[in-house]
C-alpha cells in the first residue's frame, strides 16, 4: 500500500516536472546566447565627410544634412529601408530599445535612419514604418532622391548597388568631434548603450 502511494506520488511528480522542464531550458538558453553574443560586432574609428545635400524627413520637411549634423549633441545613424525584412526591423527595434534604456539621457541624442530605397520610401511609407515601432521624438527617418542618397551612402562607406546586400551597421558621432565610431554587425540595445557611454564619457 505504502509502495503504491509512493509510486503514485513519484509518477505525478514526473509528469508535472515534465511540463515545467521546457521553461527551465528557456532561461538557461537565453543566458548562454547572451554570453555567446558579447562583443560579436566590430568597432572602428572613422572619418567621414558629410556631403552638402538636402534630404526629406518623415513629415516631408527638408533637412540639410551637414547643418543637421552640426548640433552640439551626439548622433547615431543607420541605413535601412521599409520593405527590408531581416536586418532593418531588428535595427529599428534596437534603436527603440536603446532610446528606452537611456531614459532621460535620450533627450541628448539624435537617432537617424536613412532610407537606401528612396524611390519606394516616400514620407508616407516612412511614417507607416515608424508607427510600427515606438520611436521617440528624437528620431528622424530621412529619404530623398536616389542620386543624393547614393552620395550619402558612399560618404559613409555604406553603399551597396543592390539594397538586399546591405550590411547592418550603426554609426555614432560625438558632439563637436570630427570622428565617428562605426559598429559593424547587429548590436543589441544594451550594446548600443555601452558604446554610447564610451562615446560621451571620454
Amino acid at each position: 500500500m505504502k509502495n503504491l502511494l509512493v509510486f503514485l506520488v513519484m509518477t505525478l511528480g514526473f509528469f508535472v516536472a515534465g511540463c515545467a522542464a521546457h521553461h527551465h531550458g528557456g532561461k538557461h538558453a537565453a543566458h548562454q546566447s547572451m554570453m555567446k553574443n558579447q562583443g560579436h560586432y566590430q568597432r572602428t574609428l572613422e572619418t567621414y565627410a558629410v556631403p552638402d545635400v538636402d534630404l526629406i524627413d518623415q513629415n516631408g520637411n527638408k533637412v540639410n544634412l551637414p547643418a543637421y549634423l552640426q548640433s552640439s549633441q551626439p548622433y547615431a545613424l543607420n541605413f535601412i529601408f521599409t520593405t527590408c525584412t531581416t536586418i532593418c526591423p531588428i535595427m529599428t527595434a534596437t534603436f527603440s530599445q536603446f532610446n528606452r534604456e537611456l531614459g532621460d539621457d535620450s533627450n541628448e541624442l539624435h537617432l537617424i535612419s536613412i532610407s537606401i530605397d528612396p524611390e519606394y520610401d516616400k514620407p508616407e511609407k516612412l511614417r507607416t514604418y515608424i508607427d510600427k515601432f515606438k520611436m521617440g521624438s528624437n528620431f528622424k527617418f530621412l529619404t530623398g532622391d536616389l542620386d543624393t542618397i547614393i552620395r550619402v551612402e558612399k560618404a559613409f562607406n555604406s553603399y551597396t548597388p543592390d539594397k538586399m546586400l546591405h550590411r547592418p551597421s550603426t554609426i555614432f558621432k560625438e558632439a563637436g568631434s570630427e570622428q565617428w565610431v562605426r559598429i559593424e554587425g547587429l548590436a543589441s540595445g544594451s550594446d548600443l548603450v555601452t558604446e554610447y557611454q564610451r562615446l560621451v564619457d571620454k
Binding site: 511540463c19 548562454q32 527595434a93 534596437t94 516616400k122 515601432f133 539594397k163
Partner: protein
C-alpha cells in the same frame, strides 16, 4: 497498516484512478488541444505567421537580440522567412527555411546539424530558440511568447507550408499561360508571342540535355539538380468579347489546363479582371504589358507590374504642376471608353491629394470629331493647365485648332498614349508642352535596347515593337531566373519571394530607366520624367527633364 479489506479495495480503486489521470495528463504536451477545427487552426496559424497577430488580433510578444522586446506585427514570421517559408538572405544574415521540406527532415552535414523537428520541439524552438540538437538559434531570431492556442495553430500551419508543389506541373512538364486580348492588333500580339515562343524553345532545348542525364545516376548525380527541370509549355489564353466575360473564360481555360503561372500578356483595356483571377486563385502573373494596372489598398501579392502605368503618369503630372504652379484650374481631355478614360480616372483620384487644383473633365465620345469648338472649350476651362490624354492623331488634330494667340496655360501629354512622335511635330502648334514620359529618354534608348536587340536578332525575330518585345523578353528572363532559384520546389509563393529578391535582374531592363525589386513591391518602376518639350529646339541639347517619383 490499513486492516479492513473494503477500505483497501477503495484505496486501490482510487489509486488506479489517480494513475489513469496521471497517465492522461502526462501524455498531453505543453500545448493543449483547442476547441478550433483543424482548418480553423491552420487559418489562425497563418494569421500568426503572416501578421504576427493572436486570435484576438493583438500583436504577439517576442524578444530579439536577447534584450529587445518587440511585437509580432514588427516581426511576423513572414518578414524573414517569407511567404513561402523558404527563407531569404540579406547582407550577412541568411534566414533558414521553415517550409515542411526543411523543418520535417533532419539537417545533416556540418552546418547546424539537427534531427527533424516534431510538434513539441517546434513549439520549443519558437518559444525559447533552442533547436532539437539543443543548440540556440542566432539571437536575430526572435523568441515568441505565444499562448497555447496560437502556438498550436502556428505549428499546425507550419505543417502545411510549401508542403506540395503548386498546380500546373507533371513530372515532365510545367504549364504556363499568356493572356491575349482578342481585339489587340494582330501585329502587336504577334510581336509578343514571337518572343515568348522563341524564349520557351531556347529554354527547352537547353534543359532537354540535362533531363536526359538523369537516367544515368552516376557519381555526380544530384537529386535537387536533376529534379528541377521541366519542359516549359506555353498556352495562349485568348480573351474574347467584353471584359465582363473574361472571368468565365479564364476559369474555363484554367479548368482545361491548370497553369503554374501567367507570363507577360497583353489586352486592350483594364488588366483588373485578370489581376482578380490571379489573386483569387493564387497564381503568379508576371509583368503583363499593361498600363492599366490594379492599384488598391490591400496588399495584393500575385501580380507583378512594370509600373503603375497611367496612374504613375497622372501622379507625375500633378506633382510637377504642384512644384511649378501654386493653384488653379486644370482641365483634362480624353475619349470615353478607352485608355484615356482610365488615365483621366487615375488623375481625378490622385488630384484629391492636391486641393489647390480644381479639376474639370472634357470627355469626347469615341467617334466625336475634334474641331475648333473642342479647343475653345479647353481654352475656357483650362486655367493653369490642360492634361491631354490623347493618342497621336487626336492630339495633332486638336493642336491644329489652336489659334495663334499665346496661352499661358501648360499642356501635358502622355508618352504612353502618343507613342513615337518627334518633338517638332508635338510643339508645332502648342508652345508650353510637357511630356509625361516613364520611358528611357531618346538619347539612351538605343543603347539600353541593345542587349534585347542582339537576342531578338540572333533568334531571327522581326523587331516590330521595341517596347512590347523588350518588355516581354524581360518578363521571360525574370521568370527564368526565378525558376532557376526555386529549383525542384515548385511552389508559386516561392517563385514570387525569389523574384522579389531581384538581384542582378536590373541589368536587363530596356524600356524603363530604372526597375527596382523589393519584398512585396509590385510595381517595379517608381518614377517618370517630365520633359519640357518647348525647350527643345533643333540643334540644341535635350530639353529640360525632371525625374519625379510621385
Amino acid at each position: 497498516m490499513i486492516k479492513t479489506i473494503k477500505i483497501r479495495r477503495a484505496l486501490h480503486r482510487a489509486a488506479l484512478l489517480m494513475l489513469f489521470a496521471a497517465g492522461v495528463m502526462g501524455q498531453k504536451p505543453c500545448f493543449a488541444k483547442t476547441s478550433l477545427t483543424d482548418s480553423a487552426q491552420v487559418l489562425l496559424g497563418q494569421q500568426v505567421y503572416r501578421q504576427g497577430r493572436l486570435d484576438n488580433s493583438q500583436p504577439a510578444k517576442a524578444l530579439v537580440l536577447d534584450d529587445v522586446p518587440v511585437s509580432g506585427t514588427q516581426f511576423p514570421c513572414l518578414n524573414c522567412h517569407r511567404r513561402s517559408g523558404w527563407g531569404s538572405a540579406e547582407g550577412t544574415k541568411p534566414v533558414l527555411p521553415v517550409s515542411v521540406g526543411a523543418l520535417f527532415s533532419p539537417r545533416t552535414g556540418n552546418y547546424r546539424r539537427r534531427p527533424s523537428y516534431t510538434d513539441k520541439t517546434l513549439a520549443r524552438v519558437i518559444k525559447t530558440g533552442i533547436d532539437p540538437a539543443g543548440i540556440p538559434l542566432d539571437s536575430a531570431m526572435p523568441r515568441y511568447d505565444l499562448p497555447v492556442e496560437e502556438m498550436t495553430a502556428l505549428v499546425a500551419y507550419l505543417k502545411t507550408l510549401s508542403k506540395e508543389n503548386s498546380p500546373g506541373l507533371t513530372s515532365d512538364d510545367i504549364h504556363l499561360a499568356t493572356i491575349i486580348g482578342e481585339n489587340v492588333e494582330p501585329e502587336t500580339s504577334k510581336a509578343m508571342l514571337d518572343v515568348l515562343n522563341e524564349f520557351f524553345q531556347v529554354k527547352n532545348s537547353q534543359t532537354r540535355g540535362e533531363v536526359k542525364r538523369v537516367t544515368h545516376r552516376g557519381y555526380f548525380f544530384n537529386d535537387y539538380k536533376h529534379q528541377s527541370y521541366r519542359k516549359w509549355i506555353l498556352h495562349p489564353w485568348v480573351l474574347k468579347g467584353p471584359p465582363a466575360s473574361w472571368p468565365v473564360q479564364l476559369k474555363k481555360y484554367y479548368q482545361q489546363q491548370p497553369v503554374f503561372a501567367l507570363i507577360s500578356g497583353i489586352v486592350k483595356g483594364d488588366w483588373a479582371p485578370i489581376h482578380k483571377f490571379c489573386e483569387k486563385n493564387q497564381i503568379p502573373c508576371l509583368l503583363p504589358n499593361s498600363d492599366q494596372p490594379v492599384v488598391n489598398q490591400q496588399k495584393d501579392f500575385y501580380t507583378l507590374y512594370f509600373s503603375k502605368g497611367f496612374i504613375l503618369e497622372a501622379g507625375v503630372i500633378l506633382e510637377h504642376l504642384a512644384r511649378t504652379t501654386s493653384r488653379g484650374k486644370i482641365v483634362q481631355v480624353f475619349r470615353t471608353g478607352g485608355s484615356g478614360a482610365f488615365a483621366a480616372r487615375a488623375l481625378k483620384k490622385a488630384a484629391a491629394k492636391y486641393p489647390q487644383f480644381t479639376l474639370n473633365d472634357l470627355s469626347l465620345t469615341p467617334g466625336q470629331t475634334i474641331d475648333k469648338n473642342t479647343w475653345e472649350q479647353i481654352e475656357n476651362t483650362q486655367g493653369v493647365a490642360s492634361v491631354l490624354w490623347l493618342k497621336k492623331e487626336d492630339y495633332l488634330a486638336l493642336a491644329a485648332q489652336k489659334n495663334s494667340s499665346e496661352t499661358a496655360a501648360k499642356s501635358y501629354l502622355s508618352s504612353s498614349l502618343l507613342g513615337q512622335v518627334d518633338v517638332a511635330t508635338l510643339t508645332q502648334h502648342l508652345q508650353t508642352v510637357f511630356l509625361a514620359d516613364p520611358f528611357n529618354l531618346p538619347e539612351v534608348r538605343a543603347a539600353r535596347f541593345r542587349r534585347a536587340e542582339i537576342w531578338l536578332k540572333s533568334r531571327k525575330i522581326n523587331i516590330s515593337n521595341r517596347r512590347i518585345q523588350g518588355q516581354t523578353l524581360f518578363a521571360c528572363m525574370v521568370f527564368g531566373e526565378g525558376m532557376m532559384h526555386i529549383k525542384q520546389h515548385f511552389q508559386r509563393d516561392y517563385l514570387l519571394d525569389v523574384i522579389d529578391h531581384g538581384e542582378g535582374m536590373t541589368a536587363y531592363t530596356n524600356s524603363y530607366p530604372r526597375l527596382s525589386f523589393g519584398p512585396e513591391q509590385r510595381y517595379l518602376a517608381k518614377g517618370a520624367y517630365i520633359v519640357d518639350l518647348s525647350r527643345k529646339k533643333v540643334d540644341s541639347p535635350m530639353p529640360h527633364e525632371m525625374w519625379i517619383v510621385p
